[in-house]
Symmetry: C2
DNA sequence: TGAATAGTGTCTGTCAGACATTATGGG
DNA sequence: CCCATAATGTCTGACAGACACTATTCA
């Protein structure tokens, strides 16, 4: 049906909060590297919010789903081909984009740990009180360094991720297909920011994982049993 | 900034799944009326989907938030002035509206039980297996009788409502400000479709409610203590 | 041996489900 | 007395948090 698009109506864009686990070298050679939760940001080259840090995303084309739009943008900008995505929330404040009325369908994205280098700028997420900060090398970002309402979007995404940790198997989207239980615990703690007692944590996730018959062989340490996700998990 | 609206981009509309508790007279005069979960639908007067039943909602204006849009539509169509609303999900299938590309920001709405007559068509929600049907008097609707993807939207809303029953105090948006514990249990059962043991249920919601010093006086029965919602509830 | 990591055993309190029991008003 | 509704008591098993303990590797 022709003509229905020709009056002024809101624009639709997408934004993705993509989290990933990054590890940094430990201070001692006997210690294992400490995993951190990181988020993908990029520095905005044009106005508005030129020079501020923003989430990946873009305007939604008329023949495209928001999820396809995000996947395309992530592939273009960051060579990110494999990513779990779920819809997060739709942000609709009238003043959120000074160029005009733009609503944003935001997604939560999770990338598996892997050795492959990814383009883009991954910032570790730090919770200081109830304020989030983001760090990469010597760069430290606070709310004012982010464009649009993207700080609020990241907050919402982190809340969702933390909530789903408790009652779903979402954590495995951040882990490689094979892992040790200590690795799972470290990722869990990196997300919540709170320490877990090992014995209790192992019982808590026991029903989500399956043993293999293999072990790690890290130099200097006791070998750890390798686990995989338990795919036939009903609850 | 002028001119940014003049190329073809998706339309944005809103849809609301508004639930309410309706009671129908019991068969025996000694029995209390049985509460049912009902949803607000209206019969579509124009193409597409003329004659099918649809959710209230409409196209989003450029200077309006989706929530304001819904409240305006509900007030116009159904004289519904007070309603709890939360964003549910944004439905974006490319083919969901044959007139063109339209994405829909869907809301979950809950209305308190009250005596006031409301305009509009309230259909009771029945779960038969995993299929929903909707009934009002002798009219019985199945998936095929609903327009657009509104059946799917209602399904999503019901799932959300059922999930939030467990870990939030959302049920009180469907109850009057004063209620008995049996009333709460009946509403809970109307939503889940499953019976609850009275002793267990009372313990489960004890921390969400506060006693008053008053009692009901229904003829033919033992008086029941009247409760209100416990507003200072942290967990 | 000791440091660092891997993994287990046990106690406790809380809470949900199952089920039995008591209480009250009125026909 | 009986019915319908209101409300409480008790047992169980599951589970989460706290905490102490054992096991393995290698420098």
């Amino acid at each position: 049906m022709a003509g229905i698009y020709d009056y002024e109506h809101p624009f639709v864009c997408t934004d993705a909060v993509v989290f990933r686990i990054t590890t940094q070298e430990a201070d001692s050679y006997r210690k294992l590297p400490e995993p951190k939760l990181s988020v993908l940001l990029y520095n905005r080259p044009v106005e508005p919010f030129q020079g501020k840090w923003c989430l990946p995303g873009g305007f939604l084309n008329i023949d495209e789903t928001p999820e396809d739009n995000i996947r395309r943008k992530l592939a273009e900008k960051s060579q990110l081909m494999e990513c779990y995505l779920e819809q997060l929330y739709t942000f609709c404040d009238i003043e959120r984009d000074e160029r005009g009325r733009v609503i944003s369908i935001a997604y939560l994205g999770l990338v598996k740990e892997s050795e492959e280098k990814l383009n883009g700028e991954w910032f570790t997420v730090n919770t200081e009180g109830n304020r989030l900060t983001f760090e990469k090398g010597s760069i430290r970002l606070t709310e004012e360094d982010l464009g649009f309402d993207h700080y609020k979007i990241i907050q919402t995404a982190l809340e969702r991720l933390r909530a789903k940790l408790r009652y779903s198997d979402i954590i495995f989207h951040l882990l490689p297909t094979e892992f040790t239980l200590t690795q799972v615990q470290n990722v869990y703690e990196a997300i919540t920011g709170k320490p877990e007692a090992a014995a209790n944590f192992r019982r808590k996730i026991a029903h989500m994982v399956k043993e293999t018959d293999r072990y790690t062989s890290d130099k200097g340490h006791r070998p750890a049993k390798i686990f995989v996700k338990n795919s036939d998990w009903d609850k």
